[in-house]
């Protein structure tokens, strides 16, 4: 019921009733979307749409950051590497600032 999907805004217009509307592309399907709740959205932005209403602009930077965070997560092969330095490493001389 709370299903909402991201679509790319193709055009924006104010209709006869004075409502800010637009058309958005959802993976090839183009539908009318009400943009009253996303006044800052411009053509080319992605919006999250629920029952014909854009509820939020999709933040592309945050999307990239989340994805990168996941992609950077340790690989399976790295799991045996301990988080703390090995004893041998501790014995090595290191500079004191």
């Amino acid at each position: 019921m709370c299903l909402a999907i991201p679509g790319k805004v193709l055009e924006i217009e104010t209709n006869n009733e004075g409502v800010r509307m637009g058309r958005a592309n959802f993976g090839g399907i183009v539908k009318q979307v009400c943009l009253e709740y996303t006044p800052d959205v411009v053509r080319g932005d992605y919006v999250l749409v629920h029952v014909g209403f854009a509820l939020s602009k999709v933040d592309e930077e945050e999307a990239a950051r989340t994805y990168q965070l996941l992609a950077d997560m340790k690989q399976l092969g790295e799991l045996d590497v301990p988080d703390h330095p090995a004893p041998a490493a501790l014995e090595e001389p290191h500079e004191i600032p």
Binding site: M1, C2, L3, G27, E36, D59, K74, L76
Partner: protein
């Protein structure tokens, strides 16, 4: 589709699962609040990929499921009237009332129409000035801005033959009710990502601190759900209990202020009865008194309808995370999506319906047969 497909990557899912296995040292019970999340979890089998010590229980966040039987019967009483065009989201059509469902009423001649958006009802109202157009306004906070706009625009445009039957529900009071129950098992929440797109998540912070329970606002794709689970488990393992946001690509702490403003102009908070759970104080929206002309419940005089629920059904316990669908003796037998006995089987997002749709009742049968056939 961009912003969906990349969050379904199998290699990344495996990495997060590995990280979850490294993180968990003890058994934990988490609840995903939203029915959309439940559906994704069962569809992708995410609950079965997690370590056995991590249990996901399924929350009350399916508005179709929790709409009270009284309200369904009120909808049917209105929809039966000859001068009414009754409009609804498609998923309400098969929800059984005491006597029939909306599809059956349609087959008997009632003018019942499925709309994609409540705003479509205004066009129907303009085109049918001699009819009364009623929209069944159900939903959580996610849907409130759309329903609020339909009433607001009706007033702006002077449309007099439109009203809404309001059965709106709110998430935070339901979470508090779950945590206050003596039967509660939930230790951490995957919070409702799209509800928070509208409302933000500051209202979850007092719940996290009062009940010392981590709440991670989480999206709906498999990687979102796995990352939300990992973030919740990390908090539990470290003894922290705060609100975190796994879904910052659409959720901001303050939510959508423009939408909240119109919702508050149109609706006010009220007590609401939840199917399977009972009445929860301050857990719903109703129209503000100055918008009474758009309130179908008072226009059509459908007060005083009372109903009785099935006595076998345990949906109330499922909705609160106390029981699982297969704990119910009726699951997949007397109770199926075609003949649901209670809340959690009536919509695809209900936990019982999701378990049924993805064949878990068949797997249970198979396991039972295998166990019976195994040598003692």
């Amino acid at each position: 589709m961009k912003f969906l497909d990349e969050y379904r990557s199998e290699p990344l899912a495996k990495k997060i699962l590995e990280e979850i296995r490294r993180t968990v040292t003890r058994p934990w019970v988490l609840m995903e609040v939203c029915g959309g999340q439940t559906h994704s979890i069962v569809k992708y089998g995410i609950d079965r990929l997690l370590p056995e010590t991590v249990e996901l229980v399924h929350g009350p966040g399916c508005p179709v499921c929790v709409t009270s039987l009284e309200m369904i019967d009120k909808a049917h009483a209105i929809a039966r009237q000859p001068d009414v065009i009754f409009c609804s989201f498609g998923d309400m059509l098969r929800v059984p009332g005491s006597e029939a469902d909306l599809l059956v009423l349609k087959s008997r001649g009632a003018d019942i129409r499925i709309v994609y958006s409540p705003i479509d009802c205004l066009k129907i109202a303009r085109e049918n000035p001699d009819k009364k157009v009623v929209f069944f306004a159900i939903g959580f906070e996610t849907t409130a801005p759309a329903n609020a706009m339909s009433v607001w625009q009706a007033r702006q445009q002077g449309i007099k033959n439109f009203s809404i039957l309001v059965s709106h529900v709110l998430v935070p009071p339901a979470m508090a009710a779950i945590l206050q129950s003596p039967l509660n098992r939930v230790q951490g929440f995957l919070g409702p990502g799209h509800v928070c797109t509208v409302m933000g998540y500051s209202e979850y912070e007092p719940i996290a601190s009062r009940f010392h329970v981590p709440i991670v606002i989480t999206g709906f794709e498999p990687l979102d759900l796995l990352q939300g689970t990992l973030m919740t488990l990390r908090q539990l393992e470290e003894g922290r209990a705060i609100v975190e946001n796994q879904y910052p690509r659409v959720v901001k702490r303050e939510g959508n202020r423009v939408a909240q403003e119109l919702v508050n102009k149109v609706f006010e908070v009220c007590d609401r009865k939840w199917r399977g759970v009972g009445s929860i104080p301050q857990s719903g929206y109703r129209l503000r008194p100055e918008l009474r002309d758009y309130d179908a419940e008072s226009l059509f005089n459908v007060e005083g309808i009372t109903t009785a629920e099935s006595t076998i059904c345990i949906s109330g316990l499922v909705l609160r995370g106390v029981k699982k669908p297969h704990d119910c003796p009726a699951f997949g037998k007397q109770c199926t999506p075609d003949h649901p006995l209670g809340a959690t089987m009536v919509s695809a997002e209900g936990a019982c319906a999701a378990y049924y749709a993805y064949g878990r009742h068949l797997q249970l049968k198979h396991e039972a047969v295998t166990a019976a056939a195994a040598p003692a």
